[in-house]
């Protein structure tokens, strides 16, 4: 018996197996990977959400329950009674809308100057603005707090908005500069020749053209400031200015697990998550492009 006759068979099997893998293996891997990924991301939300509708007496049970026997909204009712929820919600909204509006306006103006006007020191200003993001916000908090006291900015909405919008400026400028540079400048040049001044060019041509980018950065900055804890924790010490993030932290003040009101905390967490989830569902495409642009360029 010669080896030449028996050899082709195993090779043929191996080939068909590899063909099966190239056809189905990648698909299997992709869907399997997706399932694992989605599960890992979703699990914490499942637990937070389920806790929020579990009656208080079922929540502290050993072993834990994975689904409440009698789902209830009671936690939400009691949470809204133990925290000035409406006030904190209003404060969070003022803080997030104000900070994202100011940061987008200031960054839009700066980005236009950096992307379109050539002047001495342009590069230096740009690099300085971007690098300033590296300074940890907490490292300079002591003098910042004193300055705020001196200017009577502690416990004010505008004080918080100044801090937060400044924090978000570098990334917003970076993203908007890269966006404006992609828009061809000929229309503006033509308008200049026709005698339009800078304000007219900005209002009539530039802003309409970069409106999607401005809106994207507004959404991204809204989410970032909605979630911010450190600045409000330090600069909002009275109920009139505290946002939801600080309110949630206040709920945890009790030191031990037995007394920590997880029923109320999970309800407030859900309350805080919902607006962010809506923004994501509504603007996911814009947000993904906005986040990626800053890093890629």
């Amino acid at each position: 018996m010669s080896t030449t006759l028996t050899r082709p068979q195993p090779v043929a099997i191996a080939e068909s197996r590899s063909q099966w893998w190239t056809r189905h293996g990648l698909k299997l891997l992709t869907y399997g990977g997706f399932a694992i990924f989605a599960l890992i991301i979703a699990l914490p939300f499942y637990f937070i959400f389920v806790s929020s509708i579990t009656p208080q007496n079922e929540l502290f049970r050993i072993p834990p329950q994975y689904f409440p026997s009698t789902p209830t909204l009671d936690n939400f009712t009691r949470m809204s009674e133990s925290v000035p929820l409406g006030l904190y919600f209003r404060n969070a909204l003022i803080f997030a809308v104000g900070s994202s509006a100011i940061s987008v306006i200031a960054a839009g103006m700066a980005a236009y100057a950096l992307a379109r006007i050539s002047f001495r020191g342009s590069n230096l200003v740009y690099i300085g603005l971007i690098l300033s993001v590296a300074l940890p916000q907490i490292a300079v908090l002591v003098p910042m707090f004193q300055t705020f006291q001196a200017f009577r900015l502690v416990n004010t909405h505008h004080g918080l908005i100044i801090m937060m919008s400044s924090l978000m400026l570098p990334f917003t400028i970076l993203t908007l500069v890269s966006f404006i540079k992609q828009v061809p400048g000929e229309i503006e040049e033509a308008a200049t020749i026709d005698g339009a001044n800078t304000v007219q060019i900005l209002a009539r041509i530039v802003i309409p053209l970069i409106r999607p980018a401005l809106f994207t950065m507004f959404l991204i900055n809204f989410i970032i400031s909605w979630n911010e804890l450190l600045y409000p924790l330090v600069f909002a010490q009275r109920a009139e200015t505290k946002p939801l993030s600080v309110g949630l932290m206040e709920l945890t003040a009790d030191a031990s697990t037995y007394t920590r009101p997880w029923d109320l905390m999970s309800a407030m967490s859900v309350f805080m998550i919902v607006p962010v989830l809506l923004i994501i569902l509504f603007g996911q495409r814009l947000i993904i492009s906005g986040l990626a642009r800053g890093a890629v360029k």
């Binding site: 939300f45 834990p64 700066a110 002047f119 400026l169 804890l229």
Partner: protein
């Protein structure tokens, strides 16, 4: 001849003036919240300064010798470095895997991209408190699930496991963000390169080694630099998840600054802040050096 002080300025001068007018709000905000308090932090760091115990006086480097011998500072420096280093490495590795998933042509791709935005958009404090509950030794789901498959585990009451838990949650929080950034990089690589490689009989790891990684290198370097520098300042995750405990095992430098600031040790807090800034400068410097090298290539 006397120059007319009212002579019309040149176009170049006018443009420079307009540019700085546009830049003014952004620059003013940044200077007010970074450079100015930073200079003050430097001056506070060499003073014995506690508003509850006046007088304030110059003490040279006393604060720095004190922090060099402070076991909490030493522990928090080493945990900060481990936290940031380990997190960033795994965020990049998992991020690259998830980026491939998000780039794969399959029916649920849009859903996968939306899902990957969720951890980024979640308030860190909600995430931290949610995981605190899930890791809880008595009522938590994670120890319970592990017990069901025969693993006894103690998380937040064991110093080493508490560190592990905090790092895991941080990886969970930011891996999808890194993935979205790397996805933008992947989309920028020409399909032709992979087609050519396939014709030459390249395996997937050849493609990864010789096409994907080299092409992504500039983005990987920028992203890791950003993640390193940014996560050095993370405060809210350990603050809300473990409170820095048990003991001081999960205290990061940022939280130590916050603790000292709350005890009104303003001079000492500023000195620790300077150490944090020093670490940021070292890490950022190495990053810039690497970035220059890869950009030249």
């Amino acid at each position: 001849m006397i120059r007319n002080p009212f002579r019309p300025i040149t176009l170049q001068q006018r443009m420079t003036l307009i540019a700085f007018a546009l830049l003014l709000p952004a620059i003013a905000l940044r200077l007010f919240t970074t450079l100015y308090p930073f200079l003050q932090t430097i001056s506070f760091s060499v003073q014995r300064y506690n508003p509850a115990f006046p007088p304030t006086r110059f003490v040279g480097f006393d604060n720095f010798t004190r922090l060099a011998n402070d076991p909490v500072v030493q522990a928090s420096i080493s945990f900060t470095i481990v936290f940031v280093g380990v997190s960033t490495v795994f965020q990049l590795v998992f991020g690259l895997m998830v980026a491939h998933l998000l780039n794969a042509p399959f029916r649920l791709r849009g859903l996968a991209r939306t899902i990957s935005l969720i951890p980024w958009a979640m308030p860190m404090i909600v995430v931290a408190l949610g995981f605190r509950w899930m890791f809880d030794d008595q009522f938590g789901m994670i120890p319970d699930l592990l017990r069901r498959i025969g693993i006894e585990s103690r998380w937040l009451i064991d110093p080493n496991n508490a560190k592990l838990a905090v790092v895991l949650v941080n990886i969970w929080k930011s891996t999808p963000f890194v993935a979205l950034v790397l996805l933008a990089g992947l989309q920028g690589i020409s399909r032709d390169l992979y087609e050519a490689a396939k014709v030459d009989g390249a395996h997937w790891w050849d493609e990864l080694r010789y096409i994907t990684l080299p092409m992504l290198m500039p983005i990987i370097v920028t992203t890791s630099m950003f993640m390193l520098v940014w996560q050095l300042a993370v405060f809210d995750l350990p603050y809300a998840m473990t409170g820095g405990g048990p003991g001081f095992s999960t205290t990061v430098l940022a939280q130590k600054i916050y603790l000292e600031m709350n005890s009104l040790n303003f001079g000492y807090a500023s000195a620790i802040g300077m150490v944090l800034v020093g670490i940021v400068i070292i890490v950022g410097g190495i990053g810039l050096f690497l970035f220059k090298r890869f950009e030249v290539e």
